[in-house]
C-alpha cells in the first residue's frame, strides 16, 4: 500500500468526525473521500434551508414528486428547485461531463446499464448521475456517508425521477435501510455498481450474492474500497471485474499536487488570517502533497524548509530550493508547521512544547495522527476555541500554539476543493463504467484493474477545453517514428 497519497485517504480520523455509533460507523466512515470536503465547506458558505424545524424522519414521510413517483426517500422534495440551481452552478465547472454527455449521447453507451450508486450526494455527484442517465443508464442512488448529503440536491434528483435514498443526518439503521432500498426493488436488478468506500459492494456481496455474481462490473473510488476489493480478489471471492479509479494518474496528480497548491493558502487564511510574507514554515514530507504546499507558500513569500525520510524526495527538495532539516533543528524558530507525511506522531508533544508562542500547527496529510493531538489533551494545558476549527492550546507560561482542525485534514475541514478536481474524478468514474459495461467478453476477468492509460488520457483531454488548450496531433510519419498510435496512449503505463 502506498501510504503517501494523501488527502483522499480514509482513516481513523473520520471515526472521530462522523461516528456517533461506536461499533460500526467507524468502518462505514472509512468511505469518506475528498468530495466530502467540498460539501462541508460549501454548505457552510451557501445558505441552505436545512435549519427547518422538521424533525420527522424521511422514512416516515409520504412524499411524491411532480411526476407522481414516490420511489425515493429524501428530506424534503420541495427543496428540489434550490438543489437544481446548485447542480447548474456545478455544471459550469464540470464541462468535461457535459461534453461527455454530448459526445456519447447518440450512441447511448450505457443503454441497458442498471447502476446502483453509493457516493456522497452533492451537486457534483448529481452532475455525474445525470450524465450516466443521459448516456442511457438507469440509476438508483444512496449516500456513502450519513452526514454529507446535500438535501436539496437529493431532492432535485428525486424530482427528475432518479430514485435517491439519502438525507443529511441518517442514523446507522437509516444508512443500511437506504442501501437496501437502493438495491432491492421489485422488477429491477442492478448490473453495475459505483461505490465509494465499499459499503454498497459489501452489502450486495453479502445479502444479494446472486445479484453480485451477475454484475458486469464494479467501479470503486476510495482507497478503503479498493483495499477491500484487492482482499476479496486475493481471497478468490471477487467474481466481478472491478475498476480501481482511485489510482488513475489524472486523479492522483490533481488531487495531490495541484489541489494542495490551491488549498493550503486558503485553509490557512480562512482560519488564521496569517500573513504569508516572511513566515518561517516547515513542511514535513515532500511527496506530492508537500510539493504542492511548498510551491504555494514559497511563491507567496514564506521561507520554507522540509523534513523527509526518503533521500530521493529530499534531493528533489534540495534542487527545488528548500533546506532539508530535522524537525528538532528548526522547531523553535517556526511560525507554521505543516504535516504531509501519511505517518503518525510526526509532530510530537515534545516538539509542541518547544514551539514558539503563536506557532500555527496543521495537517495536510492523510490522518489526524500526524500531529500527536492526544498528547495535548492533558490537564496542564488549556484549550481555547477561538474560532470554528481554531484552537489555542495554552501552556502554563502563557505560550499559545494555534492548532487547526484539531489536527485533522486542513483542506478537508477549512477550505474548499475546486469543482474542477471533482470533475476529473467523476469523469473517470463515468468512463470506467462505460468501459466495463461495453468491454468485449474476456477483456476483463474477475480482478481489480486500473483504468487503461488511454482512458486516463481521454479524461484529461475532456478537461482541456476548460483551458482553451489546443492539442497537437501526430502526423502519420511522426507516429511511426515514435512507434505510437496517433490516438494514444502516448506514454508507458508507469509514466507519471
Amino acid at each position: 500500500i502506498n501510504h503517501r497519497t494523501g488527502i483522499q485517504f480514509a482513516n481513523t480520523e473520520d471515526k472521530q468526525e462522523f461516528s456517533k455509533y461506536p461499533t460500526k460507523a467507524g468502518r462505514r466512515s472509512l468511505s469518506r473521500s475528498i468530495s466530502q470536503s467540498s460539501t462541508d465547506s460549501y454548505s457552510s458558505a451557501a445558505s441552505y434551508s436545512d435549519s427547518s424545524d422538521d424533525e420527522t424522519s424521511p422514512r416516515d414521510k409520504a412524499q411524491v414528486n411532480t411526476q407522481g413517483s414516490s420511489d425515493f426517500c429524501v428530506k424534503n422534495i420541495k427543496q428540489a428547485e434550490f438543489g437544481r440551481r446548485e447542480i447548474e452552478i456545478a455544471e459550469q465547472d464540470m464541462s468535461a461531463l457535459i461534453s461527455l454527455r454530448k459526445r456519447a449521447q447518440g450512441e447511448k453507451p450505457l443503454a441497458g446499464a442498471k447502476i446502483v450508486g453509493c457516493t456522497h450526494i452533492t451537486a457534483q455527484t448529481a452532475v455525474l448521475i445525470e450524465t450516466l442517465v443521459a448516456l442511457g443508464a438507469q440509476c438508483r442512488w444512496t449516500a456513502c456517508n450519513i452526514y454529507s448529503t446535500q438535501n436539496e440536491v437529493a431532492a432535485a434528483l428525486a424530482e427528475t425521477g432518479i430514485p435517491v435514498f439519502a438525507w443529511k443526518g441518517e442514523s446507522e439503521d437509516d444508512f443500511w435501510w437506504c442501501i437496501d432500498h437502493c438495491v432491492n426493488t421489485e422488477g429491477w436488478q442492478p448490473n453495475m455498481i459505483l461505490d465509494d468506500g465499499g459499503d454498497l459492494t459489501h452489502w450486495v456481496y453479502k445479502k444479494y450474492p446472486s445479484v453480485f455474481k451477475k454484475a458486469q462490473g464494479i467501479v470503486e473510488e476510495s482507497v478503503t474500497g479498493v483495499h477491500r476489493l484487492y482482499q476479496l480478489s486475493k481471497a478468490g471471492k471477487l467474481c466481478v471485474p472491478a475498476m480501481n479509479v482511485n489510482d488513475s494518474v489524472t486523479k492522483q496528480k490533481f488531487d495531490n499536487l495541484y489541489c494542495c497548491r490551491e488549498s493550503i493558502l486558503d485553509g490557512l487564511k480562512r482560519t488564521t488570517d496569517v500573513m504569508f510574507g516572511g513566515k518561517q514554515v516547515v513542511v514535513c514530507g515532500y511527496g506530492e502533497v508537500g510539493k504542492g504546499c511548498c510551491t504555494a507558500l514559497k511563491a507567496l513569500g514564506a521561507i520554507v524548509c522540509i523534513t523527509e525520510i526518503d533521500p530521493i524526495c529530499a534531493l528533489q527538495a534540495c534542487m527545488d530550493g528548500f533546506r532539508v532539516v530535522k524537525l528538532n533543528e528548526v522547531i523553535r524558530q517556526m511560525d507554521v508547521v505543516i504535516t504531509c507525511t501519511g505517518n503518525k506522531n510526526v509532530v510530537t508533544r515534545e516538539q509542541l512544547d518547544r514551539m514558539k508562542n503563536g506557532c500555527i500547527v496543521c495537517n495536510m496529510g492523510h490522518s489526524n495522527t500526524e500531529i500527536d493531538v492526544a498528547s495535548l489533551r492533558s490537564p496542564e494545558l488549556t484549550w481555547e476555541r477561538v474560532r470554528s476549527q481554531v484552537d489555542h492550546i495554552i501552556w502554563p507560561d502563557g505560550k499559545r500554539v494555534v492548532l487547526l482542525a484539531e489536527g485533522r485534514l486542513l483542506n478537508l475541514s477549512c477550505s474548499t476543493v475546486p469543482t474542477f478536481v471533482l470533475s476529473i474524478t467523476a469523469t473517470t468514474q463515468a468512463l470506467a463504467l462505460i468501459e466495463l459495461f461495453n468491454a468485449p467478453e474476456g477483456r476483463y476477468k474477475q480482478d481489480v484493474y486500473l483504468l487503461p492509460k488511454k482512458m486516463d488520457e481521454y479524461v484529461a483531454s475532456l478537461h482541456l477545453p476548460n483551458f482553451d488548450a489546443h492539442l497537437t496531433e501526430l502526423s502519420d510519419e511522426q507516429a511511426k517514428y515514435m512507434g505510437l498510435n496517433k490516438n494514444g496512449p502516448f506514454k508507458p503505463n508507469y509514466y507519471r
Copy 2:
C-alpha cells in the same frame, strides 16, 4: 493627487456602504481607511455577543467600570473581558508596538501629551492606544466610523480607564456627540490630535479654535484627511504642524504591493472557490496594487495579462513576463477580470456584454467606479445573489457574469488585512506623535509634513524582529566611505 495608490483611498464607494444619512455621512465616511476592512472581516469571523436584544442607546445607560469611573460611553462594559482577549491576540502580531513600549517606557516620551483620537476602534487600534498610554500620554478616544467599532474592544479600553466614546451602529447625531464628549471635558485640554479622516480635526478647528491653536501637532492617517490638511495649509489656516503618515514609504509599499499579494487570492477563494491553475486573468493596471495581484496569481498558475496606460509600468509588466494588451483584445477569453487602476469605467458595459459565461469580475483598485456596475442595473439583466458579496448577473441568453462585492474593493469586503500591516501603520502613528510632541521649537512649522526618512526606517526596524531578521551595521570606515550616518537615514528621501 496620486490616484493610484489603491486600497486605502477613501471615496464615493464608502458612501454607499456606510451612509444612511445622505447629507453629511458621505463626507464623514470618506474617512474610512484600510483598518476598516480588518474590522469587518474579523468581526464576521469571531463570534461576538453583539446580537443581544439590548436596544437601549449607550447614551441612555449608566455604566461604571470596575475602577468606579463612568467617563466613557460604550455599548456594554461587561464585554470588557472578551475584548481584552481580542486585544491580546492582536498584540501577538503587533510586537513592534510592544517593543516600542518597552524601549520608550523608561523615558515616557509622551508624558504630558493629552491626545484625542478618532479612529476605527478595533483590537489593533486598542494596542496603539494602550501603547500611547504606556509612553506617558493621556488619551480620550472616539470612532471615525459609525459602523466599525468592535464593542468588546471599546469596553475593554473603558475598563482600563481610557475614556472611550464609541459603539457599533451610532447615529449621525451620536457620532458628533461622541466626538464632542471626547474633546470637551472639564479640566482637561487636548494638545495632540490623532485623526483618521479629518472629522475630529474639523470639529476641534470649528468648535474649539483656542484648543486648535494651542495644539502641538496633528497626525493624520487617511488620504481624505491629508487632503483636507493640505487645503487648510494652502488657505493659510493651518496653525498647527501636521504629519501625513499616509504617504510614508513603509506604509505605502506594504499596504499596496504586499497586502494585495496576500489578499487577492484570499478574496477570490472565499467568494468563488475558484481554482487558480490555468485561469486566464486580465489585471487592469500594473501599479503597486496590480503588481501584487499579478505576482500572486502567476505564482499559483494563472495565466495573467495586463492593461496599462503608462508606458513605464507597461514596460515593467513586459519584463516581468506579462503580456500587455488592450482589454477589448482579450475580454472574450478571460476567466477573471481584476481592476487596479484608480480610474473609472475601466470595465464598460460593452465589455461586460462580451465576457464569457462564468467570468469573474472584481475590483482591487480604489473605487467602486472602476467597473461600470451601474450599467448592469438595467431591466434586461437579472441579478442573483448567490452568496454574500457574490452576485450572478444573468444575460437574456443565460450567460452569467460573477460580480464580486458589487464592484467595491474586493479585499476590503471579502478578505482580511494582516494585523502585521496594521501594525506598521499604528507604529508610524505612534512615532509621528512622539516626533511632533518632542520636536525642538522650530523644527516643524504650521505645515503638513511627511515622516522623516529616518523614522520611517525606525518603523521598519521595529518590525524586523517579527522575522528574526538581523540588520548589519556600518563600520565607521564604511559609513564614511558611503557618506552616511551609521544610524541612517540610508537612502535619499525620494528612494522607493
Copy 3:
C-alpha cells in the same frame, strides 16, 4: 522504447558530429552520452596544452610513468600533473563518490573485481575509476568515443598506475586497438564490465566469449547499450547479469528536469546574449525536459506557451500556467522556439518560413531531427555563421532566423552539464558494480536489471551532504505504522 527521456539519447546527430568513418563510426558514436557535453564545453573553457605540434601517434611512442610502468597508451604522460588538478577540481563536486570511498574503503567491496571500462575519459570519470580502485578493484580503461578523451586526465590516470588506452582523436582502428589492449593482457582476466554504448561489451562477447561467460556482471550506462543488452537477452544470448543504470529514477529526474532547468538559459545566453524578460517563447513538448526549460524561462520573465500531443502533459501545462497551443497558431509571434519532444519534424520548413525576423530556434530534445534543418539547406536561403554554433538563415526578403547548434542538442553543444549531475551517474555506476559483484548466488540471473530502489535511494543519500541536508529517520513505531523498513526502500518501485 521511451523516446522522451531527452538529452542522453544517442542518435544520428552524433554521426554528423563525430563520424569521419562513414561505415562504422556511426554506430560507435551512438554510445555518446551526456558526459560528452561536459567534456567539450569544459575543454573550450580551460586552456589545455593540446595544441602541441606532436603529431606522433601514441601507439608509436614509448612512454613510461614515474613508477616505471608502460602498460598504458596515452597522448603524453607528461601532462599528468595538469590532469591531476582537473581531477581534483572535479572531486570537489563529486563528494558522493569520495564519501563512498570512505564508507566502503575498510571492507573493500570490490576486492577481487577486475573491471574493464569503456567510457568517456574525463575528470569526472577519473574520479569514478579511482573510487573503484580505492574500493579494491583492479581496472583497465578505454574511451567510448574517439574525440572525447581529456588527454591530461588520461595521463594522470596512467601516472597513478591505471592502464589507460585512450587519446583524443583516435582513428577507427585506434579505437578497437585500444579496446583490445584494455581487455586482452597477459595474466589478467576481467570479471566485470562497465560500458557506455555497448562497444566494449560487444567486443568481449564476440572476441573473448569465454571471458564473457565467466563475467560476474555488466553495468551499462547508455540508452543504446541498454537497448543492445535487451536484444541480447531476448535472443537468449545474454549469459551475464546486466544492470541498466540509465533508467534509474535518480538519474532520469536529474538529467532531465533539473539539468535542463539549469542549461536552457545558459545555452541561449552563451550563443545569443538574448534578454529573457518579455520574450515570447514556445516550448514544444512538456515532458521532463520541457518542464525544466519552461520553469527556468518563466522565472526569468519570458512568456511561455506549450505544444503537446499528450493530454495529460497538456493538462499539467495548463495547471502550471502555460497556454497550450498548436505551433501554427503562434509561430508568427514567437521570439524563441525550443523543441523538447523526441519526435521528428516538430518544426517544419513551412513554420520556419512563417517565423518573424530574428526568431531563435533551438533543440533541447533528443535528436537533431526535431527541427527540419535539412529543409533549410536549399538554394534560396543563405546561411551565415555569425558565431560558433550560431547560424543566421537568411530568407530572400532579408528575414533572419537564428539557428543554434544546427538543430543539435543545445545543452550538449553550447552549455555545460554540472559535475554534480555527472556525480549521480557515476555513483550509480559504482553501486551497480558493487551490487553485482557482491550479490549472493541467484539474486541476479542472466537478464537486464534496474538498480534496486533501495540503492537508488542510497545514491540520493550520498548526495545530500552537498546540500547540508539532514534526513529524518523513522522511529520503530512509525516504520511499523507505515509498513516500511527503517532503512528503506521508502516508495514502491513505480513511484516517480
Copy 4:
C-alpha cells in the same frame, strides 16, 4: 551621491583595468559606463580581425573612405563592411531608435544640430549616431575609453562619412588628440555635446570656452560626468543647460533590477559552470541590484539569504521570502557570496578565512572594493588562475575560494548586457538632445536637468513594440477624472 545605483558606476576599479598612465588615465577611465561591458564581452565572442600585425598608429596612416573623405582617424577603414554587419545585428534589438528615426525623420528635429560625441564606440552607439544623423544632425565622434572601441564599427561609421576619431588601444596622448580633432575642425562649430564621463565636456570647457558658451545643450550619461556637471553648476560656471540622463527612471530600473536579473546567472555559469539548484547563497545588499540577483537565483532553486544595513530594504527582503542575516552568521555555510552594496570591505579577509572550501565569491555592486581582495594578496595564500576571470585562492590547509573577476563587476567582466538595455539608454540620449535643441527659450536655464517624466514615458513607449505590447489610451472622461493629460505624464516625478 547615491552610491547604490550599481553597475554603471565608475571608480577606482577602472584604474586597474585601463590605466597604463598612472597620472591622468585614472580620471579619464572614470568615464566608463555600462556599455563597456557589452563591448568587452561581445568582442570576446565575435571573431574580430583585430589580431592583425598592423602596428602602425592610425595617426600615421593616410586613409580615405570610398567617398573620398579623409576626415576621420580609425584603425582600418577596410574593416567597414564587417562593422556594418555588426551594426545591422544591433539594429535588430534597437527598434526603438529605428522607430524614432521613422517618426521624426520627416520633421528633422535635429536639423542644424552640430553634435560632438564622446562615448564608447560600439555597434550600439553606432545605431545611435546614425539615428542622430537621420534626424538631421551633423556629428563628429570620439571614444570615451582607450580600450573599448570596436575598430570595425568605427570604420563603418567613417565609411558612411561620419568623422570618427577612435581606435582600440589609444595612448593617453592619442585620447586627447582624438577629442581635439573631433571638436576642432575648420568651418564647423559644435552646438551640442553628448558625453559619457565628462572628458569631452571638460576639454571644450577648458580649451574652447567660446564654443562652450554658445552651446545649446549638454547630454551626459555617466555618474561621474553628471557629478562634474553638478559641481560646475554649484560653482556657477555651467553656462549651458545640461541633461542628466543617468538618473532617468527607465534607465535606472532597467540597468539595475532587470539587467542584474539577466546577468547574474550568466556570469556565474560562464565562469564556474556552477549548478544553482540547492546552492546556499548570500547576497549582500537588497537594493535594485540585489533584488535582481535574488529573484533570478531563487527562481533557479538557490537558497538565498540577504544582508542589509537599511531596515526598509531588509523588511522588503523579509516579505519577499529571504532570511535577513549578518554575514558572519552564515559565512561558513555559503556556497556563493555576492556583493551588491556599493560599499567597501563588505566581505573582509576574516570572512574569507572562514568560508568553506569551494565557496564562490563575486561582486555585482559598483566597485572592486566590496570584497577586500587586497587582503588576499598576501604570502600565505596562493593564487591560481584556473580560467579567464577565475582565480582559486588557496589557503595553507588546501582550502580554495573561487574569486571571480578579481572582485570587479561580474557582469561587466564575465557576461553580456542585452542590447535592449543599451537601446533604452541610447534612446534617452537621443531624446535629450532633441529636447534641449528644440526647447523654447527659457525652458532650460544654465543648470542640470532630469529628463522630463513625459519623455521618460516616451522612451518606454518606443520600446513596447519589441514586446508587441498594446497600451491602453485614456478616454477624455477618464483623463478628466484622473486629472491627467491623455498623453501623459501619467505619474508624478517622484514615482518609481
